[in-house]
Each structure stands twice: as C-alpha cells, then as structure tokens.
C-alpha cells in the first residue's frame, strides 16, 4: 500500500481490520487531463458501513463511479473479494455483487414502481428468487408495496429514494454503495432513510459504502470513515475517532 500523501494525517495502520470485502489500491482516475483521483487506497471490511466524506470535487462520486465501472481507472486496482474488477462492464460488476444507488437516484421515471424493481433483478433468471427479493424490498419499504403500478416519476422524493434503494437491493448485492441518499430530502425523511440503511446493513449483512455531504449523519451511522480532499485520502479511521478529530470537526462538522 502506498502511504497517503499527507503523512501528518496518515491513518494508523491498526485502525482498519484486515480481510476487506473491497480493497482499492492506489487508484488514479482522470477526466481528460484533469486528475479526479490521485492514488487513493481504501479498505472496506465485510459487514461494515464505511463512509466517504469530503467537499464537492474531493472525488467521492468519482470513486463510486469507478468502482461501478462507469469510468476507467488510469492506474491502480479494485479488488472485490480478492478479485480485480477493473475493466469489467458496469452490468458485470452488478452481477459480481456490487450495486450502486447513484446520486440523484436515477430511477426510471417512465416505468412503474414494479418495473423499476424488476429491472433491478434483470440478471436474475429465477422467478421464485425475484418474488422473494421483491417481498423483502416491500417489507423494508411498505410504501412501495402500496403502489406497484404507479409511474415512478410521479412518486415523492422520499419514495423515489426508497425505490432507488429497493431497485439496487433486487440484484442481491454484497456491497451496496449509496451516493448522497439524503440529497434534497426533508430532515424527517433523511432520518427514515438512514434508519433503513442501518437496517439493510444489520439484517441482510450487506456491506455499505456511504457517500454523504452531511458528515455528522454519515459518521454517526458508519463504522469507518475516509476523508477525501482533491482526489486524495487525507484521513481515515473509526468513525467514532473521526468525530472527535479536531480537523474533521472544524472542516466537516461545522464545530470550531
């Protein structure tokens, strides 16, 4: 592992457990000539909730998009369950067990709720399993069960977020990545959505990567956190430690 650029802020090596489900090594990503990620390394332990925090343009969304195979990596490796997934197509990566709820949700507004969920199970050939998964999603989000044939574009923002998460769960991910799930939602809804995220992690043993502007919330729910700044990891550690870190408190938690 290459040491992070800022040695002063280097994470203590014992902070993160070994045997990660996902490991990113020295990942570099460019948009044209602009470097979006400058050699980041992350380790996501199985069963954990890990959050990426940082300002706009720090590289959080780029990290998720690269893991999902939407952007090619210029250098580095992404190991999922020990296997390098760099260069795989996005749909192949979903098939391996990594699912993303993208920023802005990107539900299919022209399809019904049920059709959206079924698209999440596009690669599942067994109808019986699709029915099981559908039931599990409906248990998690009873609001969706009430309106399977509603056109998804007419759902409220909170319902659309539930649908986006439900759709991602339909592919039975081992790793679920959520990009700004609180974006544009009322505080009460945000709390409800975060409760569901915690429940998915607890009940289905799904490992979760959470990208979130609201660092307070993100560090509260997560086990580990990484702080990104202009394409580099500048801090990493247990979320409880990060919340006490003066640098984090000042820059991201709004406490001086």
């Amino acid at each position: 592992m290459t040491p992070p650029a800022s040695t002063a802020a280097a994470p203590p090596p014992h902070a993160l457990p070994a045997d990660p489900l996902l490991e990113i090594r020295d990942l570099t990503v460019h948009y044209g000539v602009i470097a979006a990620l400058r050699g980041i390394s992350l380790s996501i332990p199985a069963g954990a909730i890990v959050t990426l925090i940082g300002a706009n343009g720090a590289g959080k969304t780029t990290t998720l998009r690269t893991i999902s195979g939407l952007i090619p990596a210029r250098r580095g490796a992404i190991l999922f369950a020990g296997r390098n997934i760099v260069g795989q197509r996005p749909d192949q990566i979903v098939a391996l067990g990594i699912s993303q709820v993208p920023e802005g949700r990107l539900i299919f507004a022209n399809l019904t709720v049920l059709e959206n969920l079924r698209m999440g199970a596009f690669r599942q050939p067994r109808r019986a399993l699709i029915a099981d998964d559908l039931d599990r999603v409906y248990q998690l989000f009873p609001r969706l069960r009430e309106r399977p044939s509603q056109i998804a574009g007419t759902l409220s923002g909170g319902e659309q977020q539930m649908l986006a998460i439900g759709r991602a769960l339909m592919s039975r991910p081992r790793l679920l990545m959520l990009d700004e799930p609180s974006l544009g939602l009322a505080p009460l809804l945000v709390a409800a959505i975060f409760e569901k995220i915690a429940a998915i992690n607890r009940d289905q043993k799904t490992t979760i990567i959470l990208v979130e502007q609201n660092a307070n919330l993100a560090l509260e729910i997560s086990d580990f956190g990484y702080v990104l700044e202009t394409g580099r990891v500048i801090l990493a550690g247990r979320s409880t430690d990060l919340r006490r870190n003066p640098q984090v408190r000042q820059a991201y938690l709004g406490v001086s």
Partner: protein, 297 residues
C-alpha cells in the same frame, strides 16, 4: 362514399408499411439517440429475402406465404444485429455524428451490394398469398394482398406492444431509453438489449418490405430509399423515440399521401404530404405524441 372508403383502405395499407418501417427508426433512436439511415435498406433486403425464399420454396398457400414472411423477418433480424455489431458498436463512445455518417455508409453499402448481387433492374415480386379479390356491397374492392397488410400489420403491432410493455427485454429497452447509465448500473447489459432492439426493428422492416412489394409487385435495390425517407419523417411527426407515435405517423402519412394522390393535385403528392407534415411539426415540434427533451449539458 365508396371512393372515400376505397381510398382510405389504400391509404391505410400504404400507411401500415410506413408504420412498420418507422418503428425501427424510432426504437433505435429511443435506445441510442441516433438515426439508423441503413434501416430503409434493411426494408429492401427484406423484400429480396422474400423474393429468393419464394424461388427456393415457392409459396402456393396462406401458410407458405406466412413462412416466407417469417423467414425474411428472421433473416433481417440477424442482418440488423450484424450491422449494429460491426458498424455501430465500435463507435458507441464516439460522437453521434460519427455514427450517423457510418449509418449513411452502411446504407450505401447495402444498396450497391444489392445492385451487385441482384442487378439494378427491377424484378417482379411474386404473389406469396393466393390471389383473390373480394367485392363488397357498394363496390368496395379488397385484394388478398391488401388484406394481408391490413391483418398482419395490427398483429405485428400488437406483438410489438406486448414485447415492449410486458417482457424483460422490452422493459429494459424503455429503461435504457430513459437513462442508459442508470440502466447499466442496475445490471442491464446494454449490448444485448441494443442487439435485441435492432433485431426487432429490422424484422418489422422486413415485414414492411414484403407487404409493400406484394402491393407494388416490383422490387429493386434502391426501392428502400423513398419509403425509408417517408417512414423516417413519419417517425419524426409521431414523435421520434415514441413507439405509438411512429405507428400513428406512418398511418397518417400513408392516408394523406393516398388522398392527395387521388385528387387533381396528384402530381404534387409528395410536396403536399410533406408540407402538411411540416405544418404539424410547426405546431408540435416534438411530434404528435413526443415530449420535448431538454438537452442536458
């Protein structure tokens, strides 16, 4: 009145063919946002496939005719998939203009390969279905060929409707048309769904080619150019990317064209038909059933 009905019938059978071609343009536009200009030549290949299949196993019955129709549709479905695989897929990440120009190239390739293989001279198209005409009270005349168009087109449209609305691949086509990135992120294999879309559109174009040739009885390698252009316009008038819109636009164009052709302005048929369509677009720029799409930056 009889003349009106007769013309309406003629218009509907011509419009049905336009509709069958227009669907291919609109479906490919829906998933890839580009106009497949080679589509009109797949229509031509469909007609020639029917011609050669009939030589190989001449049809003398309803079932024989349907078998030839199905064979030609299957052949063109494959052709559509191959065209996409070889010509368009390598350019998927390039600008749409590159793909558009490539499509024109593929179109010319098909036309002149057709001239090379089949000769440039028109060939008489065989009667695939037993020829009979039915005379109705009041003098309305319907031939089996027209009947074939009027019965088979609704069946094909119903089948397409079912595929697009009720099947996994049809739903995926609509998902991709809404947001391709979101579609890959949920695990939809874009390549497979795009191949499927080309197969579907090309099969319909082949059906259109055969039904058109049954009524015009002469085929040549450049026969796709004008009907293809008209079907493309029909797809735009209906609202490009909108499937019911393409069917509606096709029928409308066929009916307008036939009525103008039967009037004393018949020498200006195409001019008048197209002027009417331009008028429609002036008032509904997104087409009859289309929604205006805001170009995202």
């Amino acid at each position: 009145m009889t003349e009106f009905l007769q013309q309406l019938l003629n218009g509907l059978s011509l419009g049905a063919v336009y509709a069958l071609i227009a669907l291919g343009y609109t479906m490919v536009y829906g998933v890839l946002r580009f106009i497949n200009f080679a589509h009109s030549d797949v229509f031509m290949v469909g007609a020639f496939a029917g011609y050669y299949l009939n030589r190989w196993m001449p049809s003398d019955s309803m079932a024989g005719g349907l078998a030839i129709l199905a064979g030609s549709m299957a052949f063109c479905a494959l052709l559509g998939v191959v065209i996409e695989r070889l010509a368009y897929r390598p350019l998927r990440r390039r600008s749409r203009l590159n793909v558009l120009i490539t499509a024109i190239g593929v179109s010319l390739l098909l036309e002149y390969t057709g001239q090379f293989l089949f000769g440039a001279a028109p060939k008489p198209f065989p009667q695939l279905f037993p020829v009979r005409t039915f005379q109705f009270a009041g003098g309305l005349i319907v031939s089996t060929n027209q009947l074939a168009v009027l019965v088979l087109t609704p069946l094909l449209l119903a089948a397409l409707h079912f595929i697009v609305l009720k099947t996994r691949f049809g739903t995926a086509m609509r998902a991709i048309s809404f947001h391709p990135v979101a579609a890959t992120l949920v695990g939809i294999n874009l390549d497979r769904v795009i191949s499927f879309t080309f197969a579907l559109g090309s099969a319909l174009a082949a059906a259109g080619g055969i039904l058109y040739s049954l009524n015009y009885q002469s085929i040549d390698p450049l026969m796709g150019v004008l009907p293809g252009l008209k079907a493309f316009v029909a797809a735009v008038v209906g609202g490009i990317g909108n499937i019911p819109g393409a069917a509606l636009g096709g029928l409308l164009l066929g009916i307008i064209e036939t009525f103008v052709n039967g009037s004393r302005w018949s020498t200006a048929t195409d001019a008048i038909a197209f002027a009417l369509l331009i008028l429609i677009l002036l008032f509904r720029p997104a087409g009859l059933l289309g929604k205006l799409e805001v170009e995202k930056v």
